[in-house]
């Protein structure tokens, strides 16, 4: 078997394991749906103007009906529309926050793994320190100091998340460093940073990409939690956490106000976590074969 064929068979087997698990499959379906909804929100939403600052006092706080599937809020805006548009915010925040965490974490992990010794020791202690804060707490502290805004939510989550990627990529770099092609490149006098960029980085990315996709759910949840605490998007942005937070004033009489935005958060996070868990099961032979 050629190397290419073997790899394809491996991927095929992974796909088979992935497909076999119905929960994982259901999760992926919801993820795909979520992305489609986010892309098509302006066309899917029945009242696109309600996504922002439209006000219709005559239809405030209406219960769910055929015209308003999720009911309306205190300003008469259609909650279904607002929840649909909220998906765009959550997905964007997730992508940018994780991108930022990778941007900080990957170079640090590479440096620690490649240079080793004191550099490694110091960088890993810095990781330990950042990992001593529960991510939500560190994000809250940073957001509090920067002031409430969606941008600051992304920055604060990125800053709270990077050490996990550093740890992971360091352990990868440690093993790749010993491989023949790295040794050959260094013996040929290639500069360290070129070795890192050309030879180490491409060979360490796979597990990091997997980990990042598994973290998507937790990042969305953290962002929504920050929104709920009032540290993220500000009204009239239809951010899911913020919607639940505002709905709190009304929830005992207007149950739909917090129920649907919260359900959206739950479904999105659950879907990403189901997919992540499926990937974990596949990539860990110990739980697969036992």
């Amino acid at each position: 078997m050629t190397e290419e064929a073997a790899r394809r068979a491996g991927l095929g087997y992974a796909w088979y394991l992935f497909r076999r698990n119905r929960l994982t499959l259901a999760g992926s379906a919801v993820v795909v749906l979520l992305v489609l909804v986010a892309l098509a929100a302006p066309w899917l939403a029945p009242y696109p103007g309600d996504a922002t600052a439209d006000v219709h006092p005559e239809r405030a706080l209406l219960p769910p009906s055929r015209e308003h599937l999720f009911g309306t809020d205190e300003l008469g805006r259609d909650l279904f529309t607002r929840v649909l548009f909220g998906s765009r915010i959550s997905l964007t925040v997730g992508v940018i926050a994780i991108g930022l965490a990778l941007l900080i974490g990957v170079p640090i992990g590479l440096a620690a793994g490649f240079f080793g010794g004191t550099v490694d020791e110091v960088l890993m202690r810095v990781c330990d320190v950042f990992m001593s804060f529960p991510p939500l707490l560190l994000s809250v502290a940073i957001c509090a100091m920067l002031g409430p805004s969606l941008t600051n939510v992304m920055i604060s989550i990125g800053v709270a998340w990077w050490p996990w990627y550093s740890r992971l990529i360091r352990s990868q770099a440690l093993s790749v460093r010993e491989r023949g092609f790295v040794e050959a490149a260094r013996a040929a006098g290639v500069k360290p940073w070129v070795v890192i960029w050309r030879h180490i980085l491409p060979n360490t990315m796979a597990p990091v990409v997997v980990q990042a996709s598994m973290d998507f759910g937790s990042v969305i949840l953290t962002a929504a939690s920050l929104g709920f605490l009032g540290m993220g998007a500000q009204p009239p942005t239809p951010e899911w956490g913020l919607l639940v937070s505002i709905g709190r004033t009304f929830f005992l009489d207007q149950w739909w106000y917090v129920t649907f935005p919260g359900l959206a958060i739950f479904m999105a996070v659950l879907a990403f976590n189901l997919v992540g868990d499926g990937i974990r099961e596949i990539s860990d032979p110990r739980t697969r074969e036992a």
């Binding site: 320190v129 707490l137 809250v140 920067l146 949840l221 919260g262």
Partner: protein, 339 residues
């Protein structure tokens, strides 16, 4: 063992030191005008100038940090803008209520999660396993602030069975005054035999504790499952099974004991997570703990209080981790011999 403990303690001190560096940076270096933040509200130029001297912002950074550390060690954590009390005194007053809530949540999670994890591992890929997986993933995915409101809606709004929030009804508190011993209403009322307060506090505890249990429940179930599955392939499990020793004996006597290590680690981890979760849960249940203190501080831009809570939670996390590591080393000779 002693060498391991010493090394672990030293590492803990280094990390604690690093934690203060991070909080120092967040509090004093990130904001464009930390002095104005520290005073709060709409400060006058004079107030800002005074705060700048007080915080030592006119000095170089390393001197500022040394003063910051000195203040922390002397117990001077600043004054809350909102309550006008010293931050450390506020934290001391609010922490017991949070600890009571967190420990109850973790207790519920452990009691439900370990058996669920065992069920999941022993019936792998069967219906119970799928159910348990859905529960464990669902539990870590559900927004706790939302779960809290759903429980309130159901048990208070529709069924009228449980109170909406608070630790104890005002009437009960005034009629049967509670002597403060530990700060936990449940423990204190038990110790003093104050039954009316105990039962009332218990009904107030149910919903917040259930909410707090969700996240740990998910982690504990998953960890018990995966570490059990890992142990299942070991010879000391396969051999007794081959000899015909009953499943239940093998699983509970041999497998579980060896699989519990990671679960204990997760318990330590969930403790820190729960501390941060209280920010979300306590404000919904109007639970007068550290989390409600923090979330109110956030709303009123009370920076000294926010940074104080951050520091306490991070330090607690480091210390809990240290304790967990020491317990594990004590339970499992392999760890301490390796190190």
């Amino acid at each position: 063992m002693r060498a391991y403990i010493v090394r672990r303690l030293l590492l803990g001190v280094v990390v604690l030191f690093g934690v203060t560096l991070v909080t120092f940076f967040i509090a004093r270096v990130i904001p464009s005008d930390p002095a104005a933040r520290w005073v709060g509200g709409h400060p006058t130029a004079e107030q800002i100038a005074r705060a700048r001297v007080e915080l030592g912002l006119d000095k170089p950074l390393h001197i500022q940090y040394l003063r910051y550390m000195g203040d922390l060690l002397r117990g001077n954590w600043g004054t809350s803008i909102r309550t006008h009390h010293p931050v450390l005194a506020d934290i001391r007053a609010f922490l017991p209520a949070s600890l009571e809530l967190i420990l109850s949540g973790i207790l519920i999670a452990a009691v439900l999660g370990v058996p669920l994890g065992i069920l999941s591992a022993t019936r792998k890929d069967a219906l119970p396993d799928h159910g348990a997986r859905l529960v464990s993933i669902g539990a870590v995915s559900i927004p706790t602030f939302w779960l809290a409101m759903l429980l309130q809606l159901l048990f208070f709004g529709y069924l009228g069975l449980l109170p909406l929030g608070g630790r104890v009804d005002t009437v009960v508190r005034l009629t049967y005054p509670l002597q403060r011993i530990t700060g936990s209403y449940l423990v204190d009322s038990l110790l003093t035999g104050n039954w009316p307060v105990f039962t009332n506090a218990l009904t107030h505890m149910v919903l917040p504790a259930l909410t707090m249990a969700a996240y740990p429940l998910g982690l504990i179930t998953r960890m018990t499952r995966s570490s059990l599955l890992e142990v299942m392939g070991e010879e000391y499990i396969v051999v007794p099974r081959a000899y015909g020793i009953p499943r239940s004996v093998v699983y509970y006597r041999y497998a579980l004991k060896n699989a519990l290590g990671p679960t204990i680690t997760v318990l330590g981890l969930t403790f820190a997570y729960s501390l941060a979760e209280t920010f979300l849960v306590e404000s919904v249940f109007n639970w007068p703990g550290l989390g409600q203190y923090a979330s109110q501080s956030i709303l009123s831009a009370d920076y000294p209080a926010i940074m104080g809570v951050t520091l306490v939670v991070a330090c607690t996390y480091v210390i809990v981790n240290l304790v967990v590591d020491l317990i594990l080393a004590w339970l499992d000779p392999r760890i301490r011999l390796e190190g």
